[in-house]
């Protein structure tokens, strides 16, 4: 983020705005007008489009009931949308360090917490873009069985919680990581670890240990909730306990990223830095 350092370029409105808002504005400018957000969104739309096309046309997958097709596409969108926010957040601080722009950023009047907040919110914008891209696919797959509204509301709620959780995690890692490569690798590894329980056989998922693992993991718990709403047609409150870990994960990690991570936005990476 280079523009925030150019305080003389800021308009009077920007000068009076809170620091986090200025940081957010500049981060959004860099992310979207810099082209990175659009390229990631393009890749996301390709992936979700391929998934939607496959569930709609492939004969091997056509056994899927329409609700399941909608749920599958929505769950992919949530997972990949979360991945995008994780990638951007994991680059937020360590990337600035390596590009040599962190020093000027630290010289701005914005506090460390405001820097962390602004970067976190900017990373979340990718999820909201991903969600907007997903809407037409969900409409196409779900309108025949009248589940578009439920699917979109559940997807937005769960996807936002998952995105906040992953973006906060990525930002924390980025604050502490010694290099950008470490930050990105570690973040991706953690994401894969969170996705691993989805590969458990059905029997293991139904056992108490498997069930517990799915419930404490914000990703799997959130996606299970979406499935309950979209596929099983349950009402919102029936399986609300599945939202416990996504809510806790989002709140705890977002707080930690802003309060703790912000303190570690330093010129040198690493815990001891």
């Amino acid at each position: 983020m280079t523009a925030v350092a150019q305080t003389s370029d800021r308009t009077p409105a920007e000068r009076s705005a809170p620091g986090w808002l200025v940081v957010l504005h500049q981060e959004l400018h860099d992310l979207w007008l810099g082209g990175r957000g659009l390229v990631l969104s393009f890749a996301f739309s390709l992936l979700v489009g391929i998934i939607a096309y496959l569930v709609a046309t492939n004969t091997d997958l056509n056994f899927l009931e329409q609700r399941e097709s909608t749920s599958l596409t929505l769950q992919v969108a949530i997972a990949v949308g979360g991945l995008l926010t994780l990638l951007v957040a994991a680059d937020a601080v360590s990337g600035e360090r390596e590009r040599g722009t962190l020093e000027t950023l630290l010289l701005t009047p914005a506090s460390r917490r405001e820097l962390a907040s602004g970067k976190l919110l900017a990373a979340l914008s990718l999820w909201f873009a991903a969600f907007v891209i997903t809407v037409p696919y969900v409409w196409f797959l779900g309108h025949g069985v009248g589940i578009v509204d439920e699917a979109l509301v559940a997807g937005l709620a769960v996807g936002t919680l998952v995105a906040v959780f992953l973006a906060s995690l990525g930002l924390l890692v980025s604050c502490f990581a010694a290099s950008n490569r470490v930050s990105l690798s570690l973040s991706l590894f953690v994401l894969l670890a969170f996705l691993a329980p989805t590969q458990l056989p059905a029997g293991a998922q139904q056992a108490w240990a498997g069930d517990l693992l799915l419930r404490v993991n914000p990703l799997t718990a959130g996606e299970r909730y979406v499935s309950k709403i979209v596929v099983n047609g349950h009402n919102w409150s029936e399986d609300i306990s599945w939202l416990l870990s996504p809510v806790i994960g989002a709140v705890v990690f977002a707080t930690a990223a802003v309060l703790v991570g912000g303190r570690y936005i330093r010129l040198r990476g690493g815990v001891s830095g």
Binding site: W32, L33, G34, G35, L38, V39, S41, F42, S45, L46, G49, I50, A52, Y53, V55, A56, T57, N62, E65, Q66, R67, S69, I133, P136, Y137, F140, L141, G144, V145, G146, I147, V231, N232, G233, H234, E238
Partner: protein, 178 residues
């Protein structure tokens, strides 16, 4: 002699008690009748529906400790049915039924798969006694319309959205260079 008679009476009473005990337990299900209404239900995939079951005690003593359990299965091979998805409240613990008394249960369900299905209610004793459960007649459930997607309709979306985003990204890139 009196002691022997008393002992004999006690033995007879014990034997009679033992012999009657299973009968008393079995009376919990043997004298129970289960009926359901309606006999046939037609709905659409995802449709919510309900039916009632009536459990009647036809015996001369109270029927206690009964459990009614709902089950659903596909009448055609090849359809996987998870009853938990169809109803979230499939087991009901019944209050004691007086002789001639009955209780009515409303079962609410949702059609999760399409096809032909059988639904029935079984009543069994909570004692776990090895007696056959009493089952209701089968309700024939017909879930219509397995919707398949018009695959051709998604092509414009699959091509159009990435194309629009790609053009937007290209435009931003050109504008930045300009």
């Amino acid at each position: 002699m009196t002691r022997h008679r008393a002992l004999g009476l006690a033995l007879v009473a014990a034997v009679v008690g033992v012999l009657l005990a299973p009968t008393a337990t079995a009376a919990g299900t043997e004298n129970v009748a289960v009926t359901v209404a309606p006999e046939r239900i037609s709905t659409k995939l995802g449709g919510k529906f309900a039916f009632i079951s009536t459990i009647t005690n036809k015996g001369g003593t109270d029927a206690r400790g009964l459990i009614a359990h709902l089950n659903v299965l596909s009448l055609r091979d090849g359809t996987y049915v998870d009853p938990e998805d169809w109803s979230t409240n499939r087991t009901r613990y019944l209050d004691p039924l007086v002789p001639g008394g009955s209780t009515t249960i409303t079962w609410r369900m949702q059609a999760v798969n399409d096809g032909d299905f059988g639904i029935y209610v079984a009543v069994l004793p909570e004692s776990g006694a090895p007696v056959p459960p009493v089952t209701s007649p089968t309700i024939h459930l017909d879930v219509a319309e397995r919707k398949t997607l018009n695959a051709g309709g998604i092509v414009p979306l699959v091509l159009g959205i990435p194309a629009a985003l790609g053009l937007l990204a290209l435009g931003v890139r050109i504008r930045r260079r300009g």
